[in-house]
């Protein structure tokens, strides 16, 4: 099967944003500035149907995310439905709002993996970043509970100017909590993070040192913990292969049921997203206008169109191209071949310490 001249592949992963509600206020939250309301959230039965449709389509893993997914009282039923559909389920949680009891219920329901966000290795700083006093202590307690239940734990650490110099203590913390995997994720500048960019942006020297630290720590802890890193792209020469290509490997369902090629896609004006309330997931993947818009390479213009790397990085990120150049078909300006590349360096140099604009709910 082909679409826009490329073989249509099956998606491997689905991000299920169960709710946008969250007790934390992280200033780099990946949720959109306009949050879906509780009253518009999909019900349990609809999620169960979507999971079955996803498995039929080829999806292997579902990432139960938010907001804070534990804000949904039916989370155990949702986990059970994912398991029954044959999907591998990953809970992406702040851990605030979970208790040892509710965690045990989720484990019994068939949950496969838990990812807990920790904002910093220093508790006070972590609470400040999350905008929630006491969050850090609760997260550490729950992380240990995950390990006690025999569930594999990933610790997700988002790094930015306030904590980027602490990569080593962050990895040590993840190890001490019993995590088998840690993500060192440099902030990606969309939505709330874009709003807070000048406050969050590290210096080039800090970023280079953090990347060096990750390499050293990988060698030091080989066989004990897997360290994955999400690259800081404002200082890169080539763009990230965003989502592994638009509409190629994954999809995202919002709390209200809209299906997006990535969680930020709604910032691009004029895209038509279909909703799981009206269409099957398979139809949306194959035929919805938003997925067709940038699938493959036909949409590209120069310098992407004739670039040797076009099937490797897919022109980078469409959302970033739009946000920084005003044209979603342009090369991601992070790429040194983009005519807008110099402007990215200027944006990265615009750093000032200010109070965070916390995500609101």
């Amino acid at each position: 099967m082909t679409t826009n001249g490329v073989a249509l592949s099956a998606p491997l992963g689905m991000l299920a944003e169960l709710t946008h509600r969250c007790p934390l206020g992280c200033p780099y939250c990946s949720n959109p500035l306009a949050l879906d309301k509780r009253a518009d959230e999909l019900d349990t039965a609809t999620w169960a149907r979507v999971f079955c449709e996803a498995a039929t389509l080829g999806v292997l893993q579902v990432h139960l995310s938010g907001g804070e997914p534990a804000a949904r009282r039916d989370l155990p039923e949702i986990v059970k439905a994912a398991r029954e559909a044959g999907l591998y389920s990953n809970l992406i949680t702040s851990a605030v709002g979970l208790t040892p009891q509710s965690l045990a219920t989720l484990s019994d329901a068939g949950l496969d993996h838990v990812q807990i966000s920790i904002q910093d290795s220093e508790g006070e700083s972590a609470d400040h970043i999350a905008g929630y006093k006491g969050a850090s202590a609760r997260k550490r307690k729950l992380a240990k509970e995950v390990v006690n239940l025999g569930l594999p734990l990933t610790v997700n650490m988002v790094v930015h100017r306030a904590n980027i110099d602490r990569v080593e203590p962050m990895v040590d913390l993840a190890l001490s909590l019993g995590a088998t995997r840690v993500e060192i994720a440099h902030v990606q500048y969309y939505g709330w993070a874009l709003k807070n960019r000048a406050t969050l942006m590290p210096t080039r020297e800090q970023v280079e040192e953090a990347v060096r630290q990750v390499e050293l720590l990988r060698a030091k802890h080989q066989g004990r913990i897997v360290i994955d890193a999400v690259a800081p792209d404002y200082y890169a020469r080539f763009p990230k292969p965003c989502m592994g290509g638009w509409g190629r490997r994954s999809l995202n369902v919002t709390p209200a049921g809209r299906v997006l090629p990535c969680h930020a896609a709604e910032v691009i004006p004029g895209l038509e997203f279909w909703n799981v309330r009206e269409h099957s997931l398979g139809d949306i993947w194959r035929s919805s206008p938003a997925f067709l818009e940038f699938r493959g390479t036909d949409w590209m213009q120069e310098p992407c169109k004739s670039c040797a790397r076009r099937d490797q990085d897919f022109g980078g990120c469409r959302c970033q191209a739009f946000l920084l150049t005003g044209d979603a078909r342009a090369a991601d300006p992070v790429c040194h071949l983009s005519p807008h590349h110099a402007a990215v360096a200027e944006l990265a140099a615009d750093r000032k310490d200010a109070a965070y604009a916390y995500r609101t709910s």
Binding site: L60, Q115, T154, Q222, I225
Partner: protein, 98 residues
Amino acid sequence: MMDGPAMQVSDVSRPRLPRGVRLAHNEAQGCWVLLAPERVFKADAVTVEILKRCTGETTLAAIVDDLAATFAAPRERIHADVVQLLSGLAEKKLLDLG
């Protein structure tokens, strides 16, 4: 805590997939896959035969014996293949050597 590579696989190891790592046949993709935290690996036929025997009860030596008998192949070569696969997976935290 230990430094450097974790434990070595030996003939008395009783390997098993830890919680959160599952071998599954995917109908839609028409292949076997190893599902792990944030990762998916395609599993070829040899890998599948080895991992199906990693129950946590059978020793590595017995797994190799079984494979050698089932596929009428030289034990030495199978032993080398199994050790290589299992230590690689253990390093990626995808296998408990037990």
